[in-house]
């Protein structure tokens, strides 16, 4: 029954549809490589069209690897939330094309290889092989545990891991690593972004409902921290323990009865906050709660690094470009992978070098900045390697707002009102 997916359980998909089932086949045709979802381990190599046109001879190559950990996840309760097989990969491929269009003018060529496995040890072994063969940048779409194992395996080598898949705060805090930066926003950043918006709305009394998965508890913790930080009040908490995640032919009858009963007689609240990272029950709450209240958190109104309907700041262009490449809307994992690959490209353009130690140093330097369709430059925090970025607040169809919200001030940059700030960091190992 389990769906093999590389997907982070906490990723919210905005747009569904079956079109996304086809790109995997398209990729296989394009590259001539064999791919079957679930087939492990698989290594794929992508070369962009532009790369072929680069002048021969003096072109320098930068090899990037995408390491995907395939995870067994329960199926989401909505068919629209079934993940595309190339989730994240398509974003990385788009960035490789973008990098190579620029690289053509500088005689730089970027390549992308993908290794994937459901076995962490195998994934790391395959990653090592690619690194031995010359890859210096690893885009990780893996669990926090596997990111740390990868980091340990790469210790002492001129390799940078760009975490595009794990939002766990511990990777930015006590378990931070000198060879890992994060393009995925942390749970703390996401929760802070949502909390700021709700504060702006003055929906200040929260009724928190969280599930039984570890990620649910982690996101609930992030919400508790944010509530404290921004002066919001959690008036009641309930854990949703029912195994609501299984699908059946029929089922609305029970859910229609169950959710009002579950949410009955809660303390007076403005909004119901739901923490369900694996999409197992949260979607059952909107329009079914006992009190007529909006739902926010992992479902309903959600914080996210990307929204497939964002059109501001020139985003329409990347949305269209992505759709033409992948034949589906761009999701947040695609964006986080795109940002990771583009960050490497931007470092290569600016530092005019392809030597990995120089590129890594440049990416971590104060001079590094990236334009990425968010209306302002994105930079890396020098205390934990987290990418600073505005966080979108959206419903299924449209972005609603962008945090930080007006009025949340900071002495250096308002973007640092999201997530763990320098004075509060527990990260000791990260070195810019």
């Amino acid at each position: 029954m389990g769906q093999k997916s590389t997907t982070q359980p906490n990723r919210r998909r905005f747009c569904g549809g079956l079109a996304h089932l086809f790109p995997a086949a398209a990729i296989a045709l394009l590259t001539g490589a064999a791919i079957a979802v679930g087939q492990t381990p698989t290594t794929l190599a992508y070369q962009s069209e532009q790369a072929a046109a680069a002048p021969a001879g003096e072109t320098r190559r930068i090899a990037i690897l995408l390491a995907r950990e395939l995870r067994d996840l329960p199926p989401p309760i909505s068919l629209l939330d079934v993940r595309p097989p190339d989730d994240g990969v398509a974003g990385a491929r788009l960035a490789i094309n973008d990098n190579n269009t620029t690289g053509r003018f500088l005689h730089q060529e970027f390549t992308l290889a993908v290794v994937q496995s459901s076995n962490a040890a195998e994934l790391i072994a395959d990653t090592k092989k690619q690194v031995d063969a010359g890859a210096s940048f690893i885009i990780a779409d893996a669990s926090a545990q596997t990111v740390l194992a990868l980091s340990d395996a790469m210790k002492g080598r001129d390799v940078l891991i760009l975490n595009a898949g794990a939002s766990d705060d511990r990777l930015r805090e006590q378990d931070c690593r000198p060879n890992v930066v994060h393009t995925a926003p942390s749970r703390a950043m996401l929760a802070d972004a949502l909390a700021q918006y709700l504060r702006w709305k003055r929906w200040q009394r929260w009724f928190l409902v969280y599930g039984t998965e570890p990620g649910d508890e982690a996101f609930a913790n992030a919400l508790r921290r944010s509530a404290m930080r921004f002066g919001l009040k959690i008036v009641e908490e309930r854990q949703f323990k029912d195994d609501a995640g299984s699908r059946a032919d029929g089922g609305h009858e029970q859910i229609q009865e169950r959710i009002p009963a579950f949410t009955q007689r809660a303390a007076a609240h403005d909004v119901l906050m739901v923490a369900d990272e694996s999409n197992r029950f949260g979607e059952y709450f909107p329009y079914r709660t006992f009190d007529p209240r909006p739902v926010a958190g992992t479902q309903g109104l959600v914080p996210t690094s990307w929204h497939p309907a964002l059109e501001q700041w020139g985003a329409t262009q990347i949305q269209n470009r992505f759709r033409r490449l992948a034949n589906r809307p761009m999701e947040s994992l695609d964006y986080d992978a795109w940002v990771a690959v583009r960050a490497i490209g931007e470092a290569a353009t600016r530092s005019k070098t392809t030597a990995p130690p120089d590129l890594i140093a440049y990416m971590k330097s104060p001079g590094f900045e990236l334009g990425a369709f968010k209306g302002r430059k994105l930079t890396f925090r020098d205390w934990d390697g987290q990418l600073r970025q505005p966080i979108l607040i959206g419903t299924e169809k449209l972005p609603v707002s962008v945090s930080p919200q007006p009025g949340f001030l900071h002495q250096f940059t308002e973007l640092d009102t999201l997530g763990f700030d320098k004075p509060e960091t527990n990260c000791r190992a990260y070195a810019p």
Partner: protein, 333 residues
Amino acid sequence: MDMSLTTAVARYASQLMIALLASLLVATAAHAYTVYVTNEKDGTVSIIDSAKLEVVRTVKVGQRPRGITLSKDHRWLLICASDDNAVQVYDARTMELVKSLPSGQDPELFVLHPAGQLLYIANEEDNLVTVVDIQKDSVLAEIPVGVEPEGMGISPDGKVLVTTSETTNMAHFIDTATNTTIDNVLVDSRPRFAEFNADGSQVWVSAEIGGTVTVIDAKTRKVTAKIDFKIPGMPQDAIQPVGVRITKDGKRAFVALGPSNRVAVIDTATFKVEKYLLVGQRVWQLALTPDEKLLFTTNGTSNDVSVVDVDKLRVVKSIKVGRYPWGVVVAPF
């Protein structure tokens, strides 16, 4: 008979006098120019009378109109109808649609060759500059450039075209004789506009996310200066340079600074900012009247156009237009 003839002559003469007087009046009052503003979200063009400083007409055009320019003979108004994937040609006086030019995907901005026949269009989604003959309606060339080309500037002699690519972060110098790139100059993040000064010695390139304007020597293609901006109380992130205009005498430049809601006035001799003018919200594009007495700015978020008195460096009026005004051009009539 004689009497009536005299009367008729007298009447005629007095009418002539009135007509003469009227024409004199028109001539001595501020020149009335026609200002055209594209409203991105409404799909319209607002037409402003520069003497009355009010919208005299609003015309429905293609979808998502952005870049706008006039043909060299001022007969045609050319509009990038981005969502129609076309450049529309309107009769500038009657606003009747004359034709649509082939433009490539998603045209955003363009520039006309000084000779008037060739139009260079930035196709953001194809990483191309399309060269179109506006008389023959034919595509002459497609020039590959960086990711998301937008800014388009052409040297006064028409020999060099500069296009800026927003994700590649370069100003590409293109030889218009061969339609090939001759140089690529790295600038700051998200370059959106390229403007040659009148003598063709410099190209000014704005970088929206980088927050700077890079002045490039057109001959050596080396960076002459990099201008940055500081507005008291304004976060640096909000200072996002887009549109650039330089006066004909080359002494002064105006730079639209996006969501900081300011236009910077720059002394081109020192590259120092003389003044920041407070205009409407999210100011992007600029146009000077032919006599350079007035500057019009498009303010996307506040749905208006600010009018700057160039001599006094003062904002004299804001004029409500359509939703999300984007481009602006002024006709000499």
